[in-house]
């Protein structure tokens, strides 16, 4: 017997929908309720101890986000509010730093605002964390179109090497200790760089070789040269238009026509990529999970919650 598994999209969709709810609400109570619901869901549905441990990491992160926001509220404050709670010693920064005044009067408005924003951030972090510990991102990838799958797998493998990189660094530090040298500080870090880079390079090559020797990267069936060309070009176009859209967003004099054109280009290239790559199958899926009534109910509940938050706020 195997327990029923949700469709990979289910938890992620629900998390996304609830995050929207968290973003639009301006009530601390609603946010607190959302946080409790998310934590309760993970406690009830987590598949094993490891996923629970992963979620714990997100919890720490959420608490830190909330804490940092509160500390900033204490230090920077809100000069326009009048409901002063208590006063901290004041420190005026020089004008080249913006002439900001640190410390000083702490108002309850500032604290409430900080709590609201901190909680909102925490709720969104927790929602994403819950989704990723209930459905590992690699499972979502397997449902995405093949062109996106490739990019996603690359990112995932890169992320997977982070823990081993940390292990390499600690191995080098151990070696420095064994040689009787200093194992912290800038010079130790510089010494550690070469061996760390070397071993991570060697590991990546071994991983690539193992993946390839199991057939990774081959195409299924006949693919015309034309289709391959379209896929490659549209992938490049997606990347280029993403860069252009970002540039348009960030540039000081925001040009609406340019930005809109870049966005339209991005969407078009993306659609072409997905349509073209559909005929270029690279893989099949093992034990695919189909969309069931439980998935529907889960997403519908999340939608109902967010809709009511929207209308109430």
């Amino acid at each position: 017997m195997k327990p029923r598994v949700n469709h990979p999209y289910t938890w992620w969709t629900a998390a996304l929908v609830l995050s929207i709810g968290a973003a639009v609400t301006s009530s601390i109570w609603v946010l607190a309720l959302l946080v409790m619901v998310v934590i309760g869901t993970v406690l009830a549905f987590h598949p094993d101890q490891d996923s629970l441990r992963a979620f714990k990491g997100f919890c720490y992160f959420a608490v830190i986000a909330l804490g940092v926001r509160m500390v900033f509220a204490l230090i920077i404050g809100n000069p326009f509010a009048t409901d002063v709670l208590f006063t901290l010693p004041e420190l005026a920064t020089p004008t080249w730093l913006g002439g900001l005044t640190l410390g000083g009067e702490v108002t309850s408005t500032a604290l409430t605002n900080a709590l609201l924003e901190g909680l909102r951030m925490a709720a969104i972090v927790l929602a994403v964390g819950a989704a990723s510990s209930l459905t590992p991102p690699v499972k979502v990838l397997s449902k995405l179109p093949s062109a996106v799958y490739e990019v996603g797998l690359t990112v995932l493998i890169a992320l997977n090497t982070v823990p081993s990189l940390a292990k390499d660094i600690s191995r080098t530090q151990t070696a420095l200790k064994l040689r009787g040298r200093k194992h912290s500080g800038l010079r130790a870090l510089a010494t550690a760089l070469t061996p760390t880079m070397e071993s991570s390079l060697r590991r990546s090559m071994a991983l690539a070789a193992f993946m390839e020797s199991r057939g990774y990267g081959r195409l299924l069936g006949e693919v015309t040269l034309f289709r391959r060309g379209v896929v490659s070009i549209s992938t490049l176009m997606v990347l280029a238009f993403t860069a252009l859209s970002l540039a348009a967003l960030m540039s000081a004099g925001f040009q609406e026509t340019f930005g809109a054109a870049a966005l339209v280009g991005l969407v078009t290239a993306f659609v072409i990529l997905i349509v073209a790559s559909r005929g270029m199958k690279r893989r099949t899926e093992y034990r695919p999970v189909s969309w069931g009534s439980a998935d529907l109910a889960c997403v519908a509940l999340a939608l109902a919650a967010t809709t009511s938050i929207w209308f109430l706020s």
Partner: protein, 546 residues
């Protein structure tokens, strides 16, 4: 069938040839063992069989490699998944998925099977490799032997005709090794596959081999033949064959059972003359008489916790100067943790560690390295410089020694090391010697080694044993964590066996090695009634001139 014809290979166009005009054939349905001294090109040869060499390593290759009729060198590795399967040496860093089952299915997804056939094939592999209880386990939670079996399954599922493994058991304990070798034998016996593997510790695999491909370090064709033929003259042979050759047993024994038959029939008179020697009082009895203040290092009620896991539990051990102690036990039994505590890398959760009268965790710099040194399982970890010469000079500076001390120590250990060579380009045996020289230069009273014989051939191991015995004669205390039973039989005075963080045995090496079937060296298996551990002891006992 694997056919190599006129294969030549070199890494750079004008560089030294690794192979020159090599020809040989491995027939279908055989288990072929690639042997040879370190640096003879075993990994390169295995890589050529699935075009990993030169696809991933670069280099110039000529000639033809055909596996089941397919020209391997003209194909990309990804198109060979259903012909040649390759199992990586350290599978744990090469996994992609999150659970055992999805990892096994990865190759099938790439091949593009439909879901029904995939389910069937994955189930077959799970049964074949005995992974039923592990199927939904996270890959990060597998033990070494389990990870190796999952990696084999993940390759096997694509139904390759040939399976290639490069030292699949070098990091495994004796029990896990037997699991993996048994699984490989089943593939050859039941599925008719061809398995090609390289291995240094021949005593573990030579029984299962149908064919030996012996590289001799020259560029020419390797000798290929049955184990009996090859082992007649090869320099790299297991202890059993050494004994058989010295005692002139014909036909040459390959399996323990052959050896035992020879021992019983041909040499019965000699055996009967020698009554089992009266045993020296065992260590457990002797310990009572020994004064505790002679000790050079000790751990008392040591406990180490890693998060929720307990690595060591209430461990109490005392180490004497001039003694070689081998620490044995399964993977994950706490051997490395014990060494880390003794060298002061880990501060224990509870208990006392003393080395030369001080707690090692508080020591730094010269104060530590002049008391206790550790050669890690990857000796290359210790190297930071661009040449052997610089590395030795840096070591003199670290330990505050007169310039040239480390080089003198190194010259004593290994004469043939090039001073301008890059430390990481040295062979595994030479790397070990350099790491040992760096560690010994500071003259530590306690020397620790973690898996020193990994990747060493028999002659290098023999040399290492001589070096270590010299250090022991100088009054150092040596503590060696290892899986290598035959090596322990050669050098250890005392064996400590750990299991799940507990000391389960601590006695003379003879007592421990002869009382446990798992740790018994080949000589003990051949002569169950005697206490012989090494070939030379057996020869002396049989009154055969060595």
């Amino acid at each position: 069938m694997i056919e190599l014809s006129q294969v030549s290979f070199r890494y750079s166009p004008h560089g030294k040839a690794i192979f020159e005009d090599m020809n040989f054939v491995v027939p279908d349905n055989s288990l072929a063992l690639v042997t040879g001294p370190t640096g003879a090109g075993k990994s390169t040869l295995l890589g050529l069989l699935n075009s990993h060499v030169p696809s991933f390593t670069g280099g110039q290759v000529s000639g033809q490699v055909r596996v089941c009729g397919v020209d391997v060198l003209a194909s990309r590795p990804r198109d060979l998944a259903q012909i040649v399967g390759v199992v990586p040496q350290s599978p744990r860093s090469c996994f992609i998925a999150d659970t055992v089952e999805t990892e096994i299915a990865f190759a099938l997804e790439q091949i593009g099977l439909d879901d029904t056939s995939m389910r069937k094939r994955v189930e077959e592999v799970i049964d074949l490799m005995g992974l039923q209880h592990l199927r939904s386990r996270r890959l990060s939670r597998l033990s070494g032997g389990e990870a190796q079996r999952v990696a084999i399954g993940a390759v096997l599922v694509a139904h390759p005709k040939v399976l290639i493994l490069d030292e699949p058991t070098s990091a495994l304990d004796p029990v896990a090794t037997e699991e993996v070798i048994a699984a490989l034998k089943r593939l050859v016996d039941d599925l008719g596959m061809t398995v090609v593997l390289s291995e240094h510790r021949l005593e573990r695999v030579s029984e299962a081999a149908d064919l030996v491909i012996a590289l001799d370090g020259s560029t020419g064709a390797p000798k290929v033949g049955t184990p009996q033929e090859i082992f007649q003259s090869s320099e790299i042979v297991p202890p059993l064959v050494q004994l058989g050759r010295a005692a002139n047993w014909q036909p040459l024994p390959i399996t323990i059972r052959d050896g035992r038959r020879h021992a019983l029939s041909q040499l019965r008179p000699a055996l009967e003359r020698k009554a089992p020697s009266t045993q020296a009082p065992s260590r457990a009895a002797r310990n009572h008489h020994e004064a505790a203040d002679e000790s050079i290092a000790s751990v008392t009620k040591l406990r180490v916790d890693y998060q929720a896991n307990r690595a060591l539990e209430e461990t109490t051990l005392v180490f004497q100067p001039g003694e070689v102690t081998a620490v044995m036990g399964r993977n994950g039994s706490g051997k490395t943790t014990l060494l880390s505590c003794l060298v002061g890398l880990i501060d224990p959760t509870a208990g006392v560690v003393q080395v030369a009268g001080l707690a090692p965790a508080g020591l730094t710099g010269k104060a530590r390295i002049s008391r206790v040194g550790l050669v890690p399982s990857e000796p290359a970890d210790l190297f930071f410089c661009e040449s052997v010469k610089d590395e030795c000079d840096a070591s003199d500076v670290d330990a505050n020694l007169t310039s040239g001390t480390t080089r003198a120590v190194l010259a004593e250990l290994a004469t043939e090391i090039q001073q301008d060579g890059h430390p990481r380009d040295l062979s595994e045996g030479q790397q070990l010697c350099l790491a040992l020289a760096i560690t010994c230069a500071a003259n530590p009273q306690v020397l620790l080694m973690d898996e020193p014989t990994r990747g060493l051939d028999y002659p290098s191991k023999q040399k290492l044993a001589e070096v270590l015995l010299r250090l022991r004669a100088n009054g150092r205390s040596l503590i060696i964590a290892t899986h290598d039973v035959e090596f322990v039989a050669t050098i250890a005075d005392r064996v400590v066996v750990l299991a799940q963080g507990d000391v389960v045995a601590d006695d003379d090496s003879r007592t421990v090695l002869t009382s446990s079937p798992m740790f018994a060296p080949q000589m003990k298996k051949i002569f169950p009634d005697q206490d012989w551990l090494t070939v030379s002891e057996a020869l002396a006992g049989l009154a055969v001139p060595a």
